[in-house]
């Protein structure tokens, strides 16, 4: 079947449901009595099962199905939530995640799930033991049998065949119930002989039943075998098979049925209540739709065109001096301004989508490392650009692992140091200006500078004599050098040789920085500073002769007007004295070969002081136009590696202005 078009949707939704499962499992761990949470997990697992079965990812479906069985027991209060149960459920969720990941990466999602399925099944089969008097043979059955039927059933006593009542519960969203019924009948016929069904076969074919029906069969197979066969059919929620005790007289059966038919009704009511509570729950969640980010880009492009036309209209209305027109255009301007904000905000996603996978990761890691760690998340609603969100996950994973592995000490050690036994990691996100800050703070051992230095020297990253002149921050930054790992033994948690250097390079590629603060013995803070968005930046527009250029505000220190007399010369390089620092003077006019390069230097020069790290340069421009939010665009695939140009933007008048890459101008 051609499923490719649904695959993306499937992956996205599966991830969402898995995340939901994980969150809820964590909650369940906190309050094991809350059946509402169990219901919610059940719902997610159930949807997941349905989806994966449709997409024919059978391992995924099988595992979710087993998970669902266990959850079903819990919510029917037949199984208590113990840490053992939770561990298996977490394990199952891990497997599911792995499979979905494999599918997302183009794999087939196949994974050997047998072990975890067995574990789930063992929980499942514990059921009769835990509830003691399971209705195996005590209950005779749900159906009444007439004499003929009863005779047939009775006769089977002398053969290998045993009578069973098979109650099948269909998926509530099942659309083609008759088809499922047919499949069930077909399966049962393979396993034995069908004696009777309730409702009657004709009613079943016409779908005149809710979601449950019962079939009486004679079979030589065991009830487990039949159950397994039946569960292979999709959209079946549960199969209940009861062996019919033939020792009872038919009259008794009839009485028993009267009694048992009531609870069945109740059950239906209960499930209905459950469904309605699900519906109520789903209303609370924010409604979202998925939009391809490319479409947003197209929307943005179109909108920019609109902005350009708005500018032209504004000009025309002023020229015409028509009041009505002017008012309309002004109103339009305001609306398009609001529209712009909305479009820009559409690309913003709460960082929660990255953070939400950490609680589970920390839980698992803490177990593996035999440490006790409490993860606090602050500011999960902080929003940033989708493109940044996609990239920031891995670096954060590395940093959290690092904090747990190297930062937080073992419980005994902590007690010896007079700290609480449980370590704390605080993950905090917040906005500041045009940046977002993400901080990872642990109350662990902190960074031992001497160790870092010794290690760095041993690894040949720095020379011994350099250390004396290094500031704390510089020493800490050594941790991010490639080939640096302070862990004495390599664990599989962190310190695989790769790691922190990758973190640094990813963050820098996003236009951000990492800084470290540490207090030995009391913990460290890794602080990541990132631009809010990669597509919109604040820039200073300048003119060089008659060409317009944009300089990103993030690299500008300040603008200044200097006198010709202030220019000094050192080794053919013109420099100025800027607040006690010697700053080289760079003529954009000559670098960008703007026509008519005149040797004549005017009496006063406008300069923009830019920086790269702590190095400065003064760029000579003809005039400043002003500060503006600009949309960063690439020059396309054809023009690559243009010197000192990082991209382009479209100005209000529709013209293109190039964006200067100051990093390339400063050697």
């Amino acid at each position: 079947m051609e499923m490719n078009q649904y695959l993306d949707l499937f992956i996205e939704e599966s991830k969402e449901h898995l995340q939901n499962c994980n969150d809820l499992l964590l909650k369940l761990e906190q309050s094991p009595e809350d059946l509402f949470i169990v219901n919610e997990i059940f719902r997610s697992a159930h949807t997941l099962k349905g989806m994966s079965a449709t997409m024919e990812f059978n391992d995924l479906a099988q595992l979710t199905h087993q998970m669902e069985n266990v959850l079903d027991l819990i919510r029917n209060e037949k199984l208590a939530v113990s840490s053992q149960v939770l561990d298996v459920l977490f394990l199952a969720a891990d497997y599911l995640e792995e499979m979905v990941e494999s599918i997302a990466n183009g794999g087939n999602g196949q994974l050997n799930v047998e072990t975890v399925v067995k574990q789930l099944q063992s929980l499942d089969s514990n059921q009769p033991l835990e509830i003691g008097n399971a209705p195996e043979t005590v209950q005779v059955g749900k159906l009444t049998y007439d004499d003929y039927e009863w005779t047939v059933l009775s006769q089977s006593k002398d053969t290998d065949y045993q009578p069973f009542e098979v109650t099948v519960q269909l998926h509530k969203d099942c659309l083609l119930k008759a088809v499922r019924v047919f499949m069930v009948f077909e399966t049962l016929e393979k396993n034995g002989e069908i004696i009777k069904s309730h409702p009657q076969a004709t009613a079943l074919e016409e779908e005149q039943f809710d979601f449950e029906f019962t079939v009486t069969i004679l079979s030589s197979n065991t009830k487990e075998e039949i159950e397994i066969e039946l569960l292979k059919i999709s959209e079946i929620d549960a199969v209940e098979i009861i062996a019919i005790d033939l020792s009872q007289a038919s009259e008794e059966v009839a009485v028993a049925v009267e009694e048992t038919s009531l609870p069945t009704k109740k059950e239906v009511e209960v499930t209905q209540q459950q469904t309605s509570s699900f519906k109520q729950q789903s209303k609370h969640g924010t409604k979202t739709i998925r939009v391809n980010i490319e479409r947003l880009d197209i929307l943005m492009n179109l909108f920019e065109e609109l902005v350009i036309d708005r500018g032209r209209l504004l000009q025309i209305s002023q020229d015409l001096d028509h009041q009505g027109l002017q008012e309309t255009v002004e109103h339009m301007s305001r609306i398009s301004g609001d529209l712009q904000n909305i479009i820009l905000n559409m690309r913003m996603v709460p960082i929660d989508t990255v953070f939400n996978r950490f609680p589970k990761m920390v839980r698992q890691l803490a177990k593996d490392l035999h440490k006790s760690v409490n993860l606090e998340i602050i500011g999960a609603q902080t929003e940033l650009d989708r493109t940044v969100i996609d990239e920031i996950g891995d670096p954060l994973v590395h940093l959290i692992r690092n904090a747990m592995d190297h930062g937080i000490e073992k419980p005994e050690e902590r007690l010896a140091k007079g700290k609480p036994q449980q370590g704390t990691i605080i993950l905090k996100a917040y906005h500041s200006g045009n940046h977002i800050f993400i901080e990872i703070t642990d109350d662990g051992a902190g960074i031992n500078k001497d160790n870092v230095c010794r290690k760095a020297i041993a690894k040949g990253i720095i020379k011994e004599e350099e250390i004396a002149s290094m500031e704390d921050q510089e020493i800490y930054q050594l941790i991010f050098s490639s080939g640096f790992s302070t862990a004495k033994e390599i664990s599989d948690v962190s310190g695989r040789g790769v790691g922190l250097d990758v973190v640094k390079s990813i963050i820098e590629s996003l236009g951000g920085y990492v800084t470290i603060q540490s207090n030995e013995g009391y913990g460290s803070t890794f602080s990541i500073q990132l631009p809010l968005t990669l597509s919109i930046i604040s820039a200073m527009l300048v003119e060089v002769e008659n060409e317009k250029y944009a300089i990103p505000l993030s690299s500008i220190i300040e603008t200044a007007i200097i006198k010709k007399a202030d220019i000094m010369k050192t080794h053919n390089q013109q420099v100025i004295d800027f607040r006690g620092k010697v700053v080289p003077l760079v003529s954009l006019q000559s670098i960008f070969e703007v026509n008519d390069v005149s040797e004549e230097i005017p009496e006063t020069l406008s300069v923009v002081i830019v920086r790269k790290g702590d190095k400065l340069a003064a760029l000579i421009v003809s005039s400043f136009i002003g500060q503006q939010e600009i949309v960063l665009k690439s020059l396309g695939d054809y023009l690559t590696n243009v010197f000192a140009i990082s991209g382009a933007t479209i100005l209000g008048d529709g013209q293109v202005a190039l964006i200067i890459d100051c990093n390339e101008l400063i050697k």
Partner: protein
């Protein structure tokens, strides 16, 4: 490739008194000339970039590329937006006003010498009435490194 088909549709454009053709399949649109922002430090024939409906597009002046004398842009000057692989580039031409069908049998490999032009970017020539139509090789014109089948 064209050999397998019977005809090929070409956009015809002019540079000076010569007619050139580029396959319709490689052309996205034809635009009027508008403000071009110069990009410093690029080849001389790259005139700069334009804003085409919100997308930044590099522009090549074919006159400069073919070493023809510069000619001021007029109201007939057009930019042919072409797409070669993932690369979209606009070509400035004197005029572009015709789409014709050329039978592949009419196409001939480029002669050894054609006028004064360096001819490595000529894919084929076609005799059309009295005129010679030069079919250009976009990849060569744009200096796109790729294995072009000839």
């Amino acid at each position: 490739m064209e050999n397998k088909q019977h005809t090929v549709q070409l956009i015809v454009f002019q540079l000076g008194d010569k007619e050139y053709g580029v396959p319709v399949a490689d052309v996205l649109s034809i635009e009027k000339i508008e403000h071009i922002t110069r990009v410093p430090g690029t080849e001389k024939y790259i005139k700069g970039v334009i804003n085409l409906r919100g997308v930044i597009l590099p522009i090549v002046d074919l006159r400069t590329r073919f070493n023809l004398p510069e000619h001021p842009y007029s109201q007939h000057t057009r930019i042919i937006i072409t797409k070669k692989g993932e690369k979209e580039v606009g070509l400035i031409v004197d005029t572009a006003n015709d789409v014709i069908d050329v039978a592949t049998s009419q196409l001939e490999p480029p002669p050894e010498v054609v006028g004064t032009e360096s001819f490595d970017y000529i894919k084929a020539v076609a005799k059309m009435n009295q005129q010679i139509l030069i079919l250009i090789d976009l990849a060569k014109v744009l200096n796109i490194e790729e294995n072009v089948e000839i």
